[in-house]
Symmetry: C2
């Protein structure tokens, strides 16, 4: 089967530094096929599609320079949405609307680039298509900085976030070492349930710097007394203690640590402070030395200027893989990358059934965390190291990295 018709690509969920590289990959492959006429981009995900908010991506055909710039542009060229399709296929207007639009625009190929929730959309659309006998390839292309998708060795976007986190960790370590005084630095890293991003800070360690000296992940219960004991034990041997902590750590009762730092402001409104800020205050109260906290925040997912070349190339190949599978008659699948060797690092690409992927969350295996729950094991380091290798070759304009303009995402009223 090799359907003749048009194609829609959309992006969904949170951005990464390389999700546009996957978009470029899908585009490059579908542009090669004579069976696909017009390639639409739906602006703002499945919600944009339902509003027929389309951009004609066919204009990029043959424009190698724009495709190259797109590959290196962070965030989402097509914009995003956070929208879950209903589970009730029979009585939902959403499915009817979507498939009417598919019919109206003669869409035979639909690609959704996203994470967990987006794969739920891919699963539901492919089930509905089969139910009503609609001939269309519905394919998922993975992305998420969180690295929490099942059936895939690692997710595109994760390596670049990990590279930014490890680079920043090394740089703030240099920054911390300059003063000859007891200092605790707490670096809060993204990840509500999976500690992959926080763990990746371990890549900053080298022959002269062991920062982060402590790593706390959401996979283990967090104990405040033990945390203070851990820091004190290190401070008896060294001047500087640098801690990597996931925003999502919880205590033994399963409560987020960040929730403990809720404050009431002058108007009586609750202010939610971050995990790092809370722990900074805890160290200040219990130890009393110089302490600072840093929240890497959305820079982790948007710092395209320090993207991992390995990650960018893999994101591109996964886009091509999904398009290739769709052109070969596959549907209801997601492109995956499988590691075939760690040293030298080699991978291969294929696809897997979307139904094994949607709504499953992959956390760090317990045996990759040390017994004390304050560090990671060498196996995890070996797993992480290849993913941050290589630097994307950005061009710069007026001293800043050159990204593809997103004029269509910033409309004026």
């Amino acid at each position: 089967m090799n359907n003749i018709g048009n194609c829609v690509i959309a992006q969904s969920g949170g951005p990464t530094s390389v999700i546009n590289s996957s978009l470029a990959g899908v585009m490059s492959k579908v542009f090669e096929s004579d069976n696909i006429k017009t390639v639409y981009g739906a602006i703002n995900g499945i919600q944009g599609l339902m509003k027929e908010n389309f951009l004609d991506l066919t204009k990029f055909k043959g424009d190698e320079q724009a495709i190259k710039t797109l590959k290196l542009s962070p965030a989402m060229y097509l914009g995003s949405c956070r929208y879950k399709l209903p589970s009730d296929y029979e009585n939902s207007e959403d499915f009817k609307t979507i498939f009417e639009i598919f019919k109206k625009y003669d869409i035979k190929y639909f690609f959704y680039i996203g994470g967990n929730d987006s794969m739920d959309t891919v699963a539901k659309l492919s089930i509905y298509a089969e139910k009503i006998g609609f001939d269309i390839a519905i394919m998922g292309v993975p992305k998420t900085i969180d690295n929490d998708l099942a059936c895939i060795d690692h997710t595109p976007g994760f390596g670049s976030a990990a590279k930014f986190i490890a680079t920043s960790m090394l740089e703030v370590a240099h920054d911390t070492y300059i003063y000859d005084m007891k200092t605790v630095l707490i670096v809060e890293i993204m990840g509500r349930n999976a500690g992959w991003l926080t763990a990746s800070s371990v890549l900053a360690r080298n022959e002269y710097s062991k920062a982060p000296h402590l790593i706390y992940l959401p996979e283990r219960a967090f104990n405040e007394d033990k945390f203070i004991d851990d820091i004190n034990a290190l401070l008896s041997k060294q001047q500087h203690v640098i801690v990597a902590v996931s925003e999502g750590i919880k205590n033994e009762a399963g409560q987020y640590i960040s929730a403990k730092s809720e404050q009431v402001d002058q108007f009586g409104h609750v202010m939610l402070n971050g995990t790092g800020k809370y722990l900074e205050q805890l160290v200040s109260n219990k130890i009393g030395c110089k302490v600072r906290s840093i929240e890497l925040n959305v820079l982790q997912r948007s710092a395209g200027h320090i993207a991992s070349l390995t990650d960018s190339n893999e994101a591109y190949e996964l886009g091509r893989q999904a398009a290739n599978a769709a052109l070969n008659g596959k549907t209801g699948e997601m492109a995956i990358v499988t590691r075939t060797s760690n040293s030298p690092y080699t991978v291969n690409y294929s696809t897997a059934s979307i139904h094994d992927i949607a709504n499953v969350e992959k956390t760090i295996p317990d045996n990759w965390i040390n017994e004390a729950g304050n560090d990671v094991t060498e196996e995890l380091v070996d797993y992480l190291r290849p993913l941050i290798e290589g630097e994307a070759n950005h061009t710069f304009t007026n001293g800043l990295p050159t990204y593809l303009p997103v004029t269509h995402l910033v409309p004026k009223k």
Copy 2:
């Protein structure tokens, strides 16, 4: 005069991405002189010098690879201190101690790389040397991300911080545009009294993105009602409003806005929230749309991986300039850079008396801020633009930028 003897170099104050480039510049020049025998680095500034905590930098003579890596390494290779020498020259042990050490080690050249407070040290040491008739060249080499030194067009370290800030602003703007909903993003930038760093975020503006849409500097009093009005006015015309705000903004009564966000935690201890967090809450309360704040924190001064090549080269030349002046008999001066043309950007280097520089703080001229106090003028943009030009050519090791090991700053007990 061209004294024969030894040399001490030290660093002080907060780090920058290029202060080590100035160190490399001083070293490269003094290594060329036959009159200078041993080049010491004092670890942890003037305090380290008083403890005779020296590193022999002569080992780097001829090691071009190490010097090149040093130029590109952020933070401070020699460590830092924050220590103000007393004003009472007659009754202070500090001056006696320092000059005894100068005598003991046959020091004829002393270079202090630092900001405002460090230039105070240079001024006092040069006065004391003259008082007691001690034959030594005491020279300052400027650095500070804050760009608040007098007698110099701009300070080394500022351009690299500005490049990181503008790059991050562009990247978080891309990140913000992806959702089709009213969103306010507040980016808190360093600068207690001078708004140069916050202003530099303006360099992120381009043909498709006008972020930051609002800029608030400490040079103007901050009014909360006007701030909310400014945002509402923009939200009536566009979906996304991105705000750059200096950590040091104060209200009409001269009180820091950040101080208003003091909270009491569960132990009854005061928690100081940042300016950004406070304004985030204010927007949430008064406008009620999606709002987020980001604090760029110490990443601004430590992100060596995105250093400005212009800045790095100038820092290096200023180090050489200071060394050259000292070798030609100057003392009590600081190396300065003067802009001779803006387009094309050209500068020249010289020295100025330290007494015109120490303890003076340069803020943004009033006519470089717009009348409404929520943006900057084109003159300021023209002044800033050349300073972030060019990218330092880092090598990478295991996916991370290669920095010179600072083993001597992380001693084990």
